[in-house]
Symmetry: C2
Subunit: 497 residues, 2 copies
């Protein structure tokens, strides 16, 4: 009886995964190759598939199967139990929100997104403010529908990082912030007087692609089950259990920009490639959280890519492709890609300043959701907090609270996963250095197999079997803390001081 | 009541068209970009969508809506009547074949296709023969399920060219064959002594793409609603009412090979782009037949592209891109692309010899289906007939009856549409020369708007409102006949004699 309920559930999820993966393919095509005039019909195609997937998942029988399967007394750590547990969580979430509320949110977000684009272009917060009020109000109502114990913000956080609490994240960030502000001050002043460190371009696009493909392959990315295309904004997407696509963009005057995008997206792709393929679409075959996903991209990008051993190994090949580098050295490239500079725009921030951008957003959106900050007071609060954290005075809202798209589509509770990723990455990498045999030697010679295997065994293969905090704790033997990340950033600053 | 049945039908077809267009997108991706390891899951995705579309179309309520809508006394030429008429034809076809029979065919075709590939590689007909017997038997049973009046072959023909009969096609081909054999003899002997006419390559791929894109744009292909990618076998596919994709392949030693592929596929794409978008997926928004579709590709490729005026206009631009052409002339390129040469392989044939390959296949597959030829006797029959028609002795079956893939997946009744396309194209082009103002002048100056408009008005916009024979008759003022095509081929031969 319960076996049959579980089997019915598996079949349904298999169908929903087919629909989801097809939709991802359509979306990938839209971002890469879709002719402009095809956009409207593409929207119809995707809405049809999403609608069908949603109806299939929220159908009453799914609730019955879940209840029946759960009652069967499964072993708590078994594949079945893990799948049922998280599917039930998703089912409850999907059925708790009334259809009219979801439709209202979609409308508000569409209109809000347009208003945000106008507001940012004009650097005029008043254009966006009335929409942001509605978006905040909806986020609060969403939290009410979903339910929470301590804070409304917990409900939103849990949508992106299950098991995370507002209290835990703010404790981490409160520990991080003052130390970061100090490190940024040291790093930025030491880097101020540095000359330009990268030889002049152009670095031809075709050669950047060649170099990136070699690095991605060395990391373990398989072109048998993946590919790299070009888009405005780089991303990584999974179109099936053996189909992983990365996209990238190219700057002709700095090849390291596309290189670190590729290392970042390849980190994401390796996680997806390392999930158990026979559990594709099920919780046991899915990434556990955004914060863990981001740990994989940041680990490869920052802890492997932005190191001296990386450049000691790859410098020779880079010189073959880009002859102007012959006047440079591995050390200079290493310095170039770690340069510290205070800046207003998050997506352009270096590694040391980055988390300050996130902490700012976390504190402000928490205050908005918990009712401690009014939307009208947001620009002033942003500018004041930014100056305290970063030591820079915001001159206009387009480089302040209007810079990110996220809030305009209701994305509250998302930003902090970027910094959780950084914290997780540093803690994982410190452990890897202690545990993985010959890792130093491997990294100096461009051998990444040992590193990847360790990540596969300790992170990728688990799927959603453990909560993010437990996963990191088990992999590293210690609870999640910002200490490793702070040591790592202090090392980066010490390059220059 | 009947309006409501028709509306229900429209909604259902809209859903089926969404599924079909999504499947076309997945197929396009499979041919262009899909990583190898993604193939199996891609098969699952596509089978899921096809299965759902089939179930939605063959559902009992569709039959009821069709009956109800037909009984409403629609004007015979109205959009509603045309849509209902052809949808009923499709519905009857889809519901006449028992599910077990369709499944049996799929299995036989999968196995037959594998056997064919082995047989061709080994040039050993005995490997394929037992499978071909089953495939012929199934084709005969398919005809029995579908029903026919004169000949089983009529039923198969009608699947690809509605309204065409075995008698009518064989009459056309019997008129064509002896004249062609004569023209081929003249042309081939005149061309035998010609020197190499194209300057040596390489013709770089990127520059071929540039040239092809300019020609396709001049023809009227819109890159706002279409694109060109690279595949092993060129094709044209429609992924939505405003999304038309062409693919091509490149030979570095002859840029005209990819050029004529593009002109051919652009001809197909212009037809699809010219169908009424508001009827997308419905008969009034669909191409009427393969023979008419092929007329559009052949017209642009052969009647516009392989002419002296074409090269008089495009020679200058070709020289800019491929400087080695400066030692050539428009006349030499024109001769190069019209050279007549007897050959064994259909897909490599020139325009003058091409139809002989088709006539051979038509006669043989008709005989197989009508029971006048046994599979075991096929190689001998092929070789004898090929020598009579083409004047060449087949030495091995891999260059004879094993060369084409079509029969191995049960594709009987398809080949003749290629020659019907040639015949239609010639007749349309002769009329266009008589009717379209300033056409000579336009073609000499690379202006193709007048030509395209005439095709849109007389062919594209009609969708399936007229049968192919009626469509050509109405557009040209005369019943379909091979005379224009023979005059056209005689002109081609006269280049050399």
């Amino acid at each position: 009886m319960s076996q049959s309920a579980y089997q019915s559930l598996l079949e349904r999820i298999r169908e929903i995964s087919l629909l989801g993966s097809i939709n991802s393919t359509l979306h990938w095509d839209q971002e890469t190759y879709l002719p402009k005039a095809g956009t409207v019909y593409r929207g119809d195609q995707m809405a049809y598939l999403s609608g069908r997937a949603h109806r299939l998942f929220t159908a009453a029988e799914v609730g019955e199967w879940l209840a029946e399967a759960a009652e069967a007394g499964l072993e708590p750590d078994s594949t079945e139990a893990v799948n049922v547990r998280w599917l039930k969580r998703d089912y409850d979430r999907a059925t708790k929100l009334p259809t009219e509320f979801v439709e209202e949110c979609t409308r508000t977000e569409t209109i809000g997104n347009e208003a945000w684009a106008k507001a940012r272009a004009a650097s005029d917060f008043s254009i966006f403010a009335p929409h942001l009020k509605k978006l905040v109000d909806q986020a609060r109502r969403r939290a009410d529908y979903l339910g929470f114990e301590e804070s409304r913000y917990d409900a939103l956080l849990d949508l992106h990082e299950q098991g995370a609490t507002t209290l835990a994240v703010s404790t981490l960030f409160d520990e991080l912030a003052p130390a970061l502000t100090e490190l940024v001050a040291q790093g930025a002043s030491a880097c101020e007087s540095l000359p330009v460190l990268l030889p002049e371009g152009p670095y031809p696009e075709a050669l950047q692609k060649q170099f990136n493909a070699e690095v991605a392959s060395a990391m373990g990315f398989s072109f048998e089950s993946g590919r790299i295309d070009t888009t405005t904004h780089p991303f990584c997407t999974t179109l099936g259990p053996h189909d992983h696509r990365i996209t990238n963009r190219y700057e002709l005057d700095d090849f390291t920009s596309s290189l670190y995008c590729i290392m970042h997206e390849t980190g994401h792709a390796l996680y997806e490639m390392g999930l158990p393929a026979d559990q594709y679409g099920l919780p046991c075959g899915s990434a556990v959280s955004l914060g863990v996903h981001e740990s994989q991209s940041r680990l490869w990008e920052n802890h492997i890519g932005r190191t001296l051993p990386f450049w000691e190994h790859w410098f020779h090949r880079a010189c073959e492709l880009f002859p102007q580098l012959k006047n440079s050295t591995p050390e200079k490239l290493w310095q170039h890609v770690n340069r510290v500079k205070r800046s207003f725009i998050r997506v352009e921030a270096d590694e040391v300043t980055y988390d300050l951008h996130i902490i700012l957003r976390f504190r402000l959106e928490r205050a908005l959701i918990e009712g401690d900050l009014e939307v009208d007071d947001l620009p002033a609060a942003w500018n004041q907090m930014f100056e305290e954290l970063m030591g820079l005075k915001v001159e206009k809202d387009s480089q302040g609270c209007l810079q990110d798209i996220h809030w305009s589509f209701g994305g509250f509770g998302y930003f902090c996963t970027y910094s959780l990723g950084n914290i997780n990455a540093a803690q994982l990498m410190e452990s890897a250095h202690a545990i993985v045999p010959n890792l130093e030697q491997d990294l100096r010679t461009g051998q990444y197999g040992g590193m990847l295997n360790w990540l596969r065994e300790n992170v990728h293969q688990a799927g959603m079997r453990q909560l993010p905090l437990d996963l990191i704790n088990r992999a590293t033997g210690a609870p999640v803390s910002p200490e490793a990340h702070l040591r790592h950033l202090a090392d980066k600053v010490s390059i220059f001081v």
